[in-house]
Symmetry: C2
Subunit: 695 residues, 2 copies
């Protein structure tokens, strides 16, 4: 809870504590079992204060227990022991060697052992960070009413880097933010409300996030100065708080910093003065923030400066920065979102979908070891449905990060319920076939497939200053789900959802099953009433909210649907189209290339298809569009009745808030339905077979 | 020239002086004749300093003559006498009684009389303002190389109110401004650059403008305070300068001022406290600005407050303010731009075009004598082509102002050349048939048709802080033309254009004929490549620049084209449509109602027409759309070659600047052409008969 909190009840009622809202277990049969050992905490190590206080807070709020803390466990009947392995027998004697070797630097063990007098629960890591994850892992078990007796649980995060990207501007605005203002910045200053930052850090730590980039990838005038003494000391204060929760702080930097703030006349990465400037800058930064994570860079993209200006490559640019950071263990994260944003819509040969691959494949193997390429999940820009970027499976000799978008820029902007975990699962599970069957994206980004040194996931956050952090309170589930998938992409969407509902709302089975149903179907529902079959866009330009079929059709952004009165879709085949399909491994390419084999949900992404084409369901393409759009709006009505059935079972304020959002979503889903259906009806003159109202 | 001017050459080269750029008559045969009498000015009246100094400046710059000034003419051979009538024989003895009675309070006489020694030219008014107009009138004759010998010219402005509306915000921005920032405001302050204001005042005076509203009709927080002591003294400084040039200053006010700045809880016009507050406010304003013009109000429109909130009518609202201003001779100008801006596009019965008439006709006769209704020329919003508002000819017992838009919001935003005088001529000449044949708009607004006490014209200006005032230097012609039509709506477009070209560029016949051709055809050219046949809109939402056929089609603004694969247009007939056509006098309504009789340029405004409908030319509707769009772009090419033929005949900087704008216009006209043609081709599948490229 924030230092500046006045009324904690209002915070609780609005979901400020998210999945750490710790409901008291009142009627649970497990309460007694938990309370037995939870009443006595054994913790002798001096530097584990954060883990200990989190544990005590959890026990207090979940079990109503004020645990006593002692340094030795022997005299207790049942107790829980907390610590870092390798520091003494209170912990070490209960963990076996073959267990210890399985615990990585961020991993933890939760182990139950019967003792003479009762039961000992050990929670331990090989580092303080691992221990912290263990504590939150244990609390999650309690929150979800899991049986602990006899437990032996060893967990390690699957991904090395688990990153949150903020697109926060220093004036306090957030690019693509739908939950208020920045929690970091206000009026060109860094916030002094460090209580809220601490609350945020523990939320992120509780789900295993270990890296945060606090400012927008579009680095403007004042943001460029974040790495100067104007701001650096205040950045260090944030870094300290995040560090306490095992999270490294990164900054987005301006590639042209040498010019903007350095007084040089060039940003040429091969210029000796430029690299010297960055070396000195790195030294300065690390002298103030010793555990600084590194730089995130958007270069030569959407009018941002970059190495192209000097006839240099992205590798030249990234490596120059990487050399500056290398002595301190810092990383350079370089975004692959590079494309021609001044395209002529009349030009049918240029294809934005091709751009990332065309730009970066030739550079594979040329990047330094402490550089990672951050690759958006799809080739376009976070649409409700896209194929996976062919850079995954394409790049082999380069560290890779998968970039997702938690903030719902194109998926309802947190006014609509759209739970993205099922989409992310499909992306992570996508088989690139790069090394034969089962070369999934989730494997590639761990680095294990191609022996890359670094890897992981990053996502643009949906967090802002709203009391519930995410605008739509249910959108907290996307933050939670993203982090859990970073930790372990093999977790099923169902399991993650189950955890989140139980931790956030209640273990009441009706609540659990109803909310799970609502969340799990919501992405598909959103897709149903918006743009069909992978074609994307069809939104209002700039703000990207609401339907506008031709909104981007005659624009310069490379985002077209090419609908005429006979058909719709972009031919991206090698045979007749832009050739994009050929960027995939041949086994995948062959599927996308072929109209009959292409997954139908991506049909219009890869093919220009006549409206009378028959889908596998037997519907014509046009009738499918009509049907899904009518269906989508009906599904939102169902969401509302599901939610209404939970009245009295979830907090009153949350109930009211979510209902209000759902009702807005219903209105807007009808607007989508009617605009899309009318557009196609007017274009084709073909009526709906079921005779429903089209305008 | 502004007080802060450093380099007058740069000002001259960029057209800062507009039509008062006074080119030295070098090779003119008239120079000698002019110089004879222009060398001696007789001016004995004390308070005519502004007129005198303008005259001297003009003679100096046009003739190269430093005129000597004396108080008596008798001893001169030839001379010019300057003054207000009725103050002494130097003037009075040369003007006959039957001439004097023809000169109104703003009129003037220019009269040549042979004397014993040579020639006397009298320039006189019955007021100082009239005299000023006379001086600028005389200079115009010199600038355009008109023979003065034997002249007897009596001029009176036809319209009583000749108003410029600024949509300037106090932060310095201009709503729909395309020529830089406000010249009045900066950072919530009133400018201190009074030199520029003076330059502006004389420009306006030189073409007879007598009223100016300095702030935007959308009155926000700080603008609401313009009538408080925070700003009033600075407003008074502006009013003083304008007053010197015969221009009254008005302010747009917030209808809810009593709440915003008055500390009351209501703005109900029938509340005694509210009217008292306004009475006191009027007293305060007039104590600081004795010749204050009055208030302009946009109420109950596009989210602005108004009397509807209190269940009162526009008449209640306007009359309450009018009573407050009445003791001081102040006026209330009340805008009729009232419509439902939250329309559902699916609703086919509501029609924005009907709104002004529906709202204001029931109030005819209910407004006080010092209230005027300001009516936009068309029922929508300054589109490139609209029918004339049916309020003209409808309203009979109400003072009326015609509102035009000089700033090119929907007509190319001063990036495109679009000379609007021919359009305004059509509007002014439009025959409402309200009192039988020849009840034209221009007659109605003078008040003469229905014996209204007040009337005139108002226009949203295109003026900003750019060195050339209007962004596109040639757009100065629209300001000039608007003012000249205010003065005399019977002037032909050709004559106005002729004057402007000669005064601005040169009397060289090639320049005159070429630029006239360019200007006169440019409106039709713009119409050709943009939205066809009166349908309007088809622009990008919000900023209104560039093509977007469906940009407003599914929006809430009431601006639809209803195109499907068979036809396009809005049925506004009484028989089958929204009934809008029935708002006109029956003789006009009958024409619009009938598909065959409806003027083709308004066809799609009144009718939904199939693409294969044959126009009078024999073209199908669709082929007409294709043809005009190809033609429009070709015409822009012709504009360029015409302009290029003037190289060396106009100033180098102006030549370069206009050429650059024209080249941008050409690119953008092709974009328009291709988007519109592609849209219809994709919708219909019917190719261009001439086989030209459509995408």
């Amino acid at each position: 809870m924030s230092d500046t909190t006045i009324n904690t009840e209002i915070y609780d009622a609005n979901g400020y504590n998210c999945w750490l809202g710790y409901h008291l277990l009142e009627n649970s049969p497990l309460k007694e079992e938990y309370s037995k050992w939870a009443s006595n905490i054994v913790a002798s190590q001096e530097d584990i204060g954060t883990a200990l206080s989190e544990l005590k807070r959890g026990f207090k709020e979940i079990l109503g227990v004020n645990a006593s803390v002692s340094s030795r466990g022997a005299e207790q009947s049942s107790y829980i022991a907390l610590g870092v392995l390798g520091r003494g027998k209170e912990i070490d004697s209960y963990v076996k060697y073959d267990e210890v070797v399985k615990i990585g630097s961020e991993g933890y063990i939760i182990k139950s052992t019967k003792t003479n007098n009762g039961e000992e629960i050990v929670v331990a890591g090989t580092t303080i960070k691992g221990l912290l994850y263990g504590v939150f892992g244990l609390l999650r078990l309690l929150q979800t009413e899991t049986v602990i007796e006899g437990i032996l649980k060893i967990e390690n995060p699957v991904n090395m880097l688990r990153i949150i990207n903020h697109w926060d501007n220093i004036d306090g605005s957030i690019e693509r933010g739908y939950a208020g203002k920045s929690i970091f910045f206000e009026n060109n200053k860094i916030t002094q409300d460090l209580g809220r930052i601490r609350d945020y850090a523990r939320l992120l730590c509780s789900v295993g996030i270990n890296s945060i980039v606090i400012n927008n990838v579009n680095v403007h005038k004042y943001e460029s100065m974040l790495i100067t003494d104007r701001y650096l000391k205040d950045v260090a204060k944030l870094a300290l708080i995040f560090g306490e929760y095992g999270i490294k702080l990164y900054l987005s930097v301006n590639f042209a910093s040498t010019i903007e703030i350095g007084g040089l006349t060039t940003a040429d990465p091969l210029d000796a003065e430029v690299s010297k400037w960055w070396e000195e800058k790195a030294e300065e930064i690390y002298s103030v923030i010793p555990d600084f994570g590194g730089f995130l860079i958007k270069a030569d993209s959407e009018f941002r400066p970059g190495p192209f200006t000097y006839g240099r490559t992205h590798a030249d640019g990234a490596n120059m920065l990487a050399e500056a950071l290398e002595p301190y263990g810092g990383l350079v994260i370089w975004r692959c979102f590079v494309y021609n944003c001044m395209q002529d819509w009349r030009d049918l040969t240029t294809d934005r979908a091709r751009a990332a691959y065309d730009n970066f494949m030739p550079l594979d193997g040329l990047f330094k070891d402490n550089v990672l390429l951050q690759i958006k999940n799809g080739p376009m820009d976070f649409q409700v449905r896209e194929p996976v970027s062919p850079l995954f499976g394409g790049l082999q000799k380069t560290n890779q990060l998968l970039e997702l978008q938690v903030t719902q820029e194109y998926t309802g902007q947190q006014k609509h319920l759209c739970y993205l975990v099922p989409m992310w699962k499909e992306i992570l599970d996508f088989d690139t076939m790069a090394q034969g069957k089962d070369t999934s994206v989730k494997k590639i980004i761990t680095g294990s497939v191609f022996n890359n040194k670094l890897g992981g996931m990053a996502a643009v956050t949906n967090i802002g200053s709203d009391l519930n952090w995410t605008g739509h309170q249910m959108a907290q589930s996307n933050t939670y789900g993203y982090a859990r998938l970073c930790w372990n992409p093999d977790l099923s969407a169902e399991q993650i959802t189950d955890e989140w509902v139980r931790m956030t709302y209640s273990n009441n089975e009706k609540v659990v099953s109803t909310v799970k149903e609502m969340l799990m179907g919501s992405w598909r529902t959103y897709e149903n009433y918006t743009s069909p079959l992978g074609i994307g866009w069809m939104v209002n330009p700039n703000h990207h909210y609401g339907p506008n079929v031709d909104g981007y059709e005659y624009d310069k952004w490379g985002t077209y649907h090419r609908a005429d009165h006979k058909g719709i879709g972009v031919d991206r085949t090698v045979r007749n189209g832009t050739g994009y399909a050929g960027q995939y491994h041949k086994d995948v390419a062959e599927i996308y290339e072929n109209l009959e084999k292409c997954p139908e949900e991506l049909l219009l992404f890869f093919h220009h298809v006549p409206y009378d084409y028959r889908l596998k369901s037997g519907e014509t393409l046009l009738q499918y569009i009509y049907n899904t759009h009518f269906k989508g709006a009906v599904e939102v009505e169902e969401l509302i009745s599901k939610w209404k059935s939970l009245k009295g079972l979830v907090g009153e304020e949350i109930f009211r808030h979510v209902l209000e959002r759902l009702e807005g979503q219903l209105e807007h889903s009808k607007e989508w339905r009617d605009v899309i259906n009318t557009y196609f009806y007017r274009k084709t003159g073909i009526p709906d077979e079921a005779g429903r109202k089209i305008y």
